[in-house]
C-alpha cells in the first residue's frame, strides 16, 4: 500500500460521494448513448418476438448461437464479484477495498443480462416461466427437475439473490452516510434504505461477521453456478461437450474474463469520477498478478481438453476438435489463444506494464474478446459437425438481430452500472475509512514504511 495518500474522513466522503451528488456533462452523454444502444436492442428483441427465431441465423443443426454464447459470457463476467469480493475479504487482502463494490455490482447486472439471454434464446419468452418453474396443478405436468436446464435457473437465482444481498449488506453504512450528507427527498430515501443505521459497535461487529459469513457461503455457490452452466453442455451426449473437465475449466475461464472486466471497470470509474487517490496503479498491479495465475490455469485446462480430444481415440471427439483446429475456425482459435494467453500474460509479467493503466485496460479488453471467442468455439463448430442423425447441414452466420442484441448486452450492463453510480457510492466508503484507521507507519533506519495493522 505504498501509494496510499493520507486522507481525512471528510475528504473521503466528498470524493466518494461525488458521483452521487454531482452530475457532469459526460454522464448525460454516456446515458444518452447507452440508452440509444439499449433501445436498439429492445427493437431487435421485439422484431424477434414478433417474427420468431427465423430472424436469427439459427438453423439446423446449429440451434445454439449468439444468445447462448452471450449467456455463458455474461455468467462468466459475473464471477468477478465473488472472486474479488469474497476471496479477498476472507484472505483479508487490503487492496480489495476500492474494488469490491464495483465487482459485486457487476456480478448482479451481468447475471441479469445473462438470464435475459436465456429467455431471448427460447424465442417465446413468455413460455420460459412455464419451463423453469413448477406450474401445472391442473394437467399434472411439472418440469423435470432432473434436467440440467432446470438446474440452471435454480443456480442463477441463488447466485443472483446472494449477490444482491451481499451488495446490500455492505451498502447499509454508506446509505447512512448518504442520508447524513443529503437533504430533502434524497435524505428520506436513503434514511429508509439504511434502516436507521447508527454505526454503533454492535452493528459494526455484526456487519464484519456478516461479510465473512456471506463470503464463505457465496463461494460454493460461485463454483456451482458456472459448473452447472458447463453441465448444460457436459451432461449432453454431444461430442465435444460431453467432457469431464468442463466444470473447472468453465469456472477458471469465468474468473479470467470477470477479473479482466473488473480492470476495465476500475479504469473507467477512476477516470469518470476522478478517483485517482483511491484506485491506484498498485491495484492494477495486484490484479495483474492474479490474472497471470488465472490465465495460465485456463491455458492448462484448455490444453487438456484439446489433447484428450485429439489422443483419446474417440472418433467423434477427434472430428469436433479437428473442425475447431481447421480453417476457418483455426483462425479464431489462434486469435483466442493469443488474446487469452500469448499476448496478455507476457505483458502482465512486467511490473512496469501492470502499473500502466492504459496497457492493463487494453489487455483486459483483449482477454474478454478471447473469452467470447472461446465460448463461440465451444458452441458453434461442435454443433456444426456433420453426423448421421442430422437431416440438413447449414452454416451458422449471426444475423443483424443477434449482433444488435450482443451490442445491447454490453450497453445494458454499462447503463445499469452508470445508473447505480448515480444513486450509490461505487467505492465502499466505510471500508476505505477502515483501511485508514488500520494504517500505521514504521521507521526502519532512514525509511518510513507504511503498513496495515491487523488483529
Amino acid at each position: 500500500m505504498h501509494e496510499r495518500p493520507r486522507l481525512t474522513p471528510i475528504q473521503i466522503n466528498r470524493d466518494l460521494l461525488r458521483s452521487v451528488l454531482e452530475t457532469p456533462l459526460v454522464f448525460y452523454v454516456l446515458l444518452l448513448l447507452l440508452m440509444g444502444l439499449v433501445g436498439l436492442g429492445v427493437i431487435a428483441a421485439t422484431l424477434m418476438v414478433s417474427y420468431g427465431l427465423g430472424v436469427t441465423g439459427l438453423n439446423h443443426p446449429v440451434f445454439w448461437g449468439f444468445f447462448i454464447i452471450n449467456f455463458v459470457f455474461w455468467v462468466g463476467i459475473s464471477h468477478a464479484g465473488t472472486m474479488i469480493s469474497a476471496i479477498l475479504r476472507l484472505s483479508a487482502a487490503e487492496w480489495r477495498r476500492p474494488v469490491v463494490r464495483a465487482a459485486e455490482v457487476m456480478t448482479v447486472f451481468s447475471l441479469l443480462t445473462a438470464a435475459l439471454f436465456v429467455v431471448l434464446h427460447t424465442g417465446r419468452p413468455w413460455r420460459t416461466l412455464y419451463w423453469a418453474f413448477p406450474y401445472d396443478f391442473v394437467r399434472g405436468i411439472w418440469p423435470d427437475v432432473r434436467s440440467p436446464l432446470v438446474w440452471d435457473p435454480s443456480a442463477i437465482f441463488t447466485y443472483l439473490t446472494g449477490s444482491i444481498l451481499f451488495v446490500y449488506a455492505a451498502l447499509i453504512p454508506d446509505l447512512a452516510l448518504a442520508r447524513d450528507q443529503t437533504t430533502g427527498w434524497r435524505r428520506a430515501v436513503y434514511g429508509v434504505l439504511c434502516l436507521g443505521w447508527r454505526g454503533n459497535a454492535r452493528q459494526w461487529k455484526l456487519l464484519n461477521a456478516t461479510g465473512l459469513l456471506l463470503s464463505a457461503l457465496i463461494l460454493p455457490v460461485f463454483v456451482s453456478v458456472h459448473s452447472i452452466v458447463s453441465w448444460d453442455f457436459g451432461m449432453s451426449l454431444v461430442p465435444g461437450w460431453h467432457v469431464h473437465i468442463f466444470a473447472p475449466y468453465f469456472v477458471v475461464g469465468a474468473v479470467l474474463s470477470g477479473v479482466a472486466a473488473v480492470i476495465a471497470l476500475m479504469a473507467v470509474m477512476r477516470s469518470l469520477f476522478r478517483l485517482h487517490d483511491y484506485i491506484r496503479p498498485e491495484h492494477f498491479d495486484m490484479i495483474g498478478r492474479l490474472l497471470i495465475v488465472v490465465a495460465l490455469a485456463w491455458a492448462y485446462f484448455y490444453f487438456i481438453d484439446v489433447i484428450f480430444a485429439l489422443l483419446s481415440n474417440e472418433e467423434a471427439e477427434y472430428q469436433v476438435m479437428k473442425l475447431r483446429l481447421s480453417p476457418p475456425y483455426l483462425y479464431l482459435f489462434l486469435l483466442m489463444i493469443t488474446c487469452n494467453v500469448f499476448l496478455p500474460v507476457p505483458i502482465w509479467m512486467f511490473r512496469k506494464f501492470r502499473r500502466n493503466i492504459g496497457i492493463m485496460v487494453w489487455t483486459a479488453i483483449v482477454v474478454n474478446i478471447g473469452m467470447w471467442l472461446e465460448r463461440f468455439l465451444i458452441i458453434i463448430p461442435t454443433l456444426q459437425r456433420r453426423h448421421p442423425d442430422a437431416f440438413a447441414w447449414g452454416d451458422y452466420s449471426a444475423s443483424l438481430v443477434e449482433i444488435t442484441l450482443v451490442i445491447f448486452s454490453f450497453a445494458n450492463v454499462a447503463l445499469l452500472l452508470l445508473l447505480f453510480s448515480k444513486i450509490f457510492p461505487v467505492i465502499p466508503i466505510w471500508e476505505e475509512k477502515e483501511g485508514h484507521i488500520w494504517k500505521r507507519e514504521f521507521r526502519i533506519g532512514k525509511l518510513r514504511l507504511p503498513a496495515i495493522v491487523r488483529e
Binding site: V145, W151, F157, L206
Partner: protein, 170 residues
C-alpha cells in the same frame, strides 16, 4: 429517559472520555459508541454484547434444504413420469436443486440475522449527529434521571467533547 451525546474529534480523546465515564459510574452498557467506520472491538472499552448470528444461516440452510427436497422429490412423486428409463428419484440431479436451495436459505437468513441482531430497522429517535459519518466519534450515555444526565454532560465536556447534546429531559 434522558440521554447525552458527546462528539469527539479523535478516537484517542473518545477512548479517554469513555474511561472517565466509567470512573463516574457509567459502565459499558450505559454508553454507546457511534463511529463512521469500524474500529477494533473494545477500542473504546465498549460492550458490543453477544450475538447469535451464526445460528441464522444454519436455520436457513435447513429450511432451504427442506424446500429443495420438496421441489425435487415432492413433484416427482406426485406426478411420476419416467424419462429415458431413469429413476423417478435420481439422487445426483436432486442433490443439485437441494444444494442450491440450502445455500439460498442460508444466504437469505444470514441477512435476516444481521438485520435482527443489529436491531434494525431502528425506528427510534435516538440522539445522533451527522458529523459521526465525517470522522467524529460519538459517545451516547443513557441516564436514569436529569441529575445523571448533568453528570454525564460535565464528564464528557471535561473529557474534551467538541459538542454535547441532551435529549429527553423531564
Amino acid at each position: 429517559m434522558p440521554s447525552v451525546l458527546g462528539l469527539f474529534q479523535s478516537a484517542d480523546t473518545a477512548a479517554a472520555a469513555a474511561d472517565r465515564l466509567q470512573a463516574s459510574g457509567f459502565g459499558p452498557p450505559a454508553y454507546e459508541v457511534l463511529t463512521g467506520a469500524p474500529y477494533p472491538e473494545g477500542a473504546f472499552g465498549e460492550d458490543s454484547g453477544d450475538h447469535r448470528l451464526f445460528i441464522f444461516p444454519l436455520g436457513g440452510a435447513m429450511i432451504g434444504f427442506a424446500v429443495g427436497l420438496m421441489v425435487t422429490a415432492g413433484t416427482q412423486l406426485s406426478y411420476p413420469l419416467v424419462t429415458a428409463g431413469k429413476p423417478i428419484l435420481g439422487i445426483p440431479p436432486m442433490f443439485i436443486i437441494m444444494y442450491e436451495g440450502t445455500m439460498l436459505g442460508a444466504l437469505i437468513f444470514t441477512i435476516m440475522g444481521v438485520i435482527f441482531e443489529s436491531r434494525l430497522p431502528n425506528l427510534t429517535n435516538d440522539l445522533y449527529d451527522s458529523r459521526i459519518t465525517e470522522g467524529y466519534v460519538g459517545l451516547v450515555v443513557r441516564c436514569d434521571d436529569d441529575a445523571q444526565a448533568d453528570t454525564a454532560q460535565t464528564t464528557l465536556t471535561e473529557a474534551g467533547a467538541e459538542e454535547v447534546k441532551q435529549q429527553g429531559r423531564s
